[in-house]
Symmetry: C4
Subunit: 367 residues, 4 copies
């Protein structure tokens, strides 16, 4: 099978999922796809986008080359898409985070590299020339957190993303049923470089994390000059408190439905959070993005950018760096197309008047 020819036949992001399913074993497939419990939130994250209609405007004299670039927290991106932090990518492809970071760099988008990466963060940063953002999980002690932040800064991270919705292991029924276990060739390179992990990778590949408090967040805020984002926010009150704690941004996310089955869908929470924040800090979102139409809806509802998760992992599984690039190329094409059809010349023009909630407005003129 010629992978290049194959990539050209993948016309939608879900096509990449099917291609990925064909190359992964059952366990990895289930690990990537599955969420917590009954996968209800996994499904709802996607379905909730269908409840939102786009309202194109006409005669807006749009060009065939709409602008998709944005600047978020000083970081210029060729489109409003970041690569969400994910677990050791060696699970899916030999080149792991190196492939992903090179693809991101080539596409002009920002990778958010996980504390749990297979390749140590400094190596990723060096390989791709630009370090991207660093995602922080808290392990063991404040000293270790401090060391982790220092390493990220030293390696050139341009923002720090603190994930706050995954302190505790989740009940991943889907993956359990498939008998998923982390293969022996997968490691936690960054944790090992930090000395947090020594010896063998623990069974289940799960190292206990600390559960952070608001006080911890203040301490982290004081500890770094990097732009600070809090990932996993689903409520207006929490978003406001992030703001009050000095965060530069929040990432609305339910961790792709992988932590709490029944959690409110990402795009539903986005409206609530964006209304509360009202431009006082950056608002990003993930959980459920499966097309350029979804990206545009999220931006119209108040997101400054979105984070892509599973879709780029599908690309990585299928063809490494080339696969991730193909995913990003397709997504860019879809965003551009959506902007053109919507009558928007620039993603920065997107706003609430471009969307309407499905169900409202039908037969408004009836008796």
């Amino acid at each position: 099978m010629d992978p290049v020819r194959n990539l050209a036949e993948l016309l939608t992001l879900p096509d990449f999922e099917a291609a990925s399913d064909a190359v992964l074993d059952q366990g990895c497939r289930a690990y990537v796809a599955g969420g917590a419990g009954t996968d209800r939130t996994v499904r709802a994250n996607i379905a909730a986008f269908d409840d939102i209609w786009l309202r194109p405007r006409v005669l807006a004299s749009t060009t065939t080359e709409p602008r998709t670039d944005v600047t978020v927290l000083g970081h210029h991106m060729s489109m409003p898409v970041l690569l969400a932090p994910t677990s050791p990518q060696r699970l899916l492809h030999e080149d792991a985070e190196i492939a992903t970071s090179l693809a991101a760099e080539a596409a002009g988008v920002v990778p958010v590299v996980s504390t749990d990466s297979h390749v140590p963060f400094p190596e990723i940063a060096k390989a791709s020339g630009r370090a991207g953002w660093f995602q922080l999980y808290a392990y063991r002690s404040r000293d270790d957190i401090a060391a982790t932040i220092d390493m990220a800064e030293t390696a050139g991270a341009s923002a720090l993303v603190v994930t706050v919705d995954a302190s505790h292991a989740a009940l991943r029924v889907h993956a359990q049923r498939a008998g998923f276990s982390t293969p022996g060739h997968v490691d936690f390179g960054t944790l090992r470089a930090l000395g947090i992990l020594e010896g063998e990778v623990p069974a289940g590949a799960r190292i206990d994390r600390l559960s952070l408090s608001w006080e911890d967040l203040l301490w982290i805020r004081a500890r770094t000059r990097l732009p600070l984002l809090v990932k996993g926010v689903l409520r207006a009150d929490d978003a406001r408190r992030c703001l009050d704690s000095g965060a530069d941004g929040v990432i609305v996310s339910n961790h792709g439905g992988r932590q709490l089955d029944g959690a409110v869908p990402g795009v539903v929470a986005l409206s609530e959070v964006a209304a509360e924040v009202d431009g006082r800090c950056a608002v990003l979102m993930d959980s459920g993005i499966r097309s350029g139409v979804h990206v545009v809806k999220a931006l119209a509802l108040g997101a400054d950018a979105v984070c892509l998760g599973r879709p780029y992992l599908w690309g990585l599984s299928v063809a490494g760096r080339e696969g991730v690039e193909a995913v990003l190329r397709l997504l860019r094409r879809e965003i551009e197309d959506t902007l053109r059809q919507l009558g928007a010349a620039d993603v920065n023009e997107l706003g609430p008047h471009f969307v309407a909630k499905a169900g409202a407005g039908a037969a408004a003129g009836t008796a």
Copy 2:
């Protein structure tokens, strides 16, 4: 297979689709059926009609021959149905737009002929005795637009429909998957007659269009005395601006779901637009009409007439002019039946009191 006997067995418009599927190759089938992206708006266009109930009135002493004729922008029609402009009809039948126009003339309805027609517009006009309305796509330059309008006027067009929702090629995944490509015997006769197309039909049969502005619309308005309609309007603000720009009518449409996946369904946008326009110009709609019940619902919600798209193409595929006539005969029978059952003697009586939004009103008297 005797086509005439066959047509008599087609009892609903979707029956024509099944018959059409049996005669078209996979690519053409997908081209006609498919929309943009996931086809979500294609499906929603139709499903949205199901959210509207009809409220028949009784003892209205209706005759068995309700009146279905209307006059829209001075054009008298035997029923409130026009044939929407579509791409070169040679894709579907040898007789192409000639068949369609003769069928329309026989049925007393108005064909809206596309700038992209296979047969040059003047020939269509001559063949059918009456030119119908002309649909304008903008190509190359204002000079070419002017020449196109002149040609339409000279050939006897009785209205000019400016399509504003299809300046940019769309991501038609459905058709792409089926490997659709325009067959070699299909041409763009009108564009060729105008000198806009020279040489071979380009690959993908797509000639780049201009993206019109509100200023362009004013210029077109000033350029012709024909009644002017803007096709592709989905928002109240755009409808009002069309009105302010001198348009005589708007056509609420999402291009049958073929341009932007996730665009608001036609019948949902109709209520919004009709409320805004409030009778100050003609309001037509297309996108999702699959029965006489749908036509009547659209009129009750404020449309002056509807445009039929795919259904007449199914008829054309199956039996050329005779097939289009069969589709129109069936649709007229359904409209008449709906009026009779509704207690309306005339389509011009239709209004919002004849409809109610599904979901509202059940168990109104509950605790």
Copy 3:
């Protein structure tokens, strides 16, 4: 097959449909089951009952023998159920309306006999000892209407039901597809007795009806002292006008979804009509009753009684009079059970506090 043993195995009304399907030919099956167009209203009539929750009350000290008898327009019935008028029942069973009327008499419920009955109304009345109500279709002229009413009165009809939603033949796609045609042994005995039908039964078994006006209704009102009901009312304004025209009752009905596809479901219209009438005349409903739970919901929403249609025809098909009696026995058992579980000792206690609209009220206490 021993029919009696068989009847005991039918535990729900839909079980009777399955049994009926097994004995009828395809055409008759489709004729009974099918409605207008896409059968959307047929399905919605039933589904709309699912949108209504029952709210049982406790400690109401109900007996095991709740009262189900009601008096509607002076007619005492053992339960709030009438047998809706239907087309010539010889289609389904040799004994036709005789079987139905004897079953109704045995069960203490009222049959509403159609002008289109196979057996002449006077013979039905004589055979069952009690004439029931007579349903009037208007044929040919006021003289014929007068003669029809006179015949009904003479034969002992205790109420006159004027059907106003079926003046015009409907587009019954389902039955058309099945190739339904009325078998040769079916006749219109009442019309023949009146001299309205002479010679052969016309093809399609459809004799043109008059389309009545409000003036006609006033004329009919003046012509008879029988209680007068108007059947086919779906709107508050029409119900009020019936009241103003001297009607003693209205029957909320969309003719079981057989006339207008997309007509508002019966139980949805019921709330609107009952609120308008507010006890000033009798309100009955049909269209969608498939269980005792449905009967109780209709009464709680304001109906004084319901008319049963297809379910008793299923019983008739399966086992003639015995089958109709089995249907009524089951329905009574279900009504009694529903009352007991609901904490109501008498159907006359039913009111809106016993129902709630589904969807409302969940998570009322949320942030």
Copy 4:
């Protein structure tokens, strides 16, 4: 088959249902699963939980060991779960209520033992060391009720639950179709000990119950010093009257959908009742609990605890006491996980701000 190994493979409560289906005969399976009529309320009880989203909060510094213990009416429980009273458990396992009570005791939860138990209540109480709560059905006379209460008190019951929604046998179509009948080895030991049942178990294993009144409730209230709960309440007005009658708690329940098809789902009624009661008495709920997520949603909506029904019967069927313990272990793990992911350190912190109704809030910022 090694049952222990098997239990470890059951990852969700529905997994236990599948395992139970494999060991029970068709009749018992249908008896446990089935509800009244069409099973609509059975399904809706579960589905209604899906209409409620969880709203996790972040940085709440939760421990890995959230507290799940509660005290309800003076009874301390290791988690907010009781075992609902059910019919003679000998149907499902030889050890019947003994197994269930021992499992409950081991898990630190309260069994509510039915008047209809197979093993006499005093024996159950003795075997498990702690009697649990006693559920009262009223049979024959006030004298018998008094004797039943005396027996419960003497045996050490710590609360009295009066079930008020099952005085009358229900139409259990599902079980009827499966030909369910109570096997000969099943008895009503408590009723026999009380002398209420003498001789053979009646056909259908149904002994007629008394239908209680509000006056009876007052009499029961005066007759015992035990905490008194009324089970089967679905309306605010009834809950208030329970309160006024001296009840210490209400259990919102539709008897698992087994009595009235179409009854409002438990979790829908819960909001209404909890709002009315407003903390003035204990509010429990059952009907539809299938996971720890459901338990947490119910508590957030105002329940003090929930009663588990079918799920523990599945465990009992599969492996007796061990099976019930496995069910409770899994449920506890799910509750703890949900609390951790939700950012709640203690079930007692749960409140309405943790939930939102699905459908509300999406696209709140739209035009």
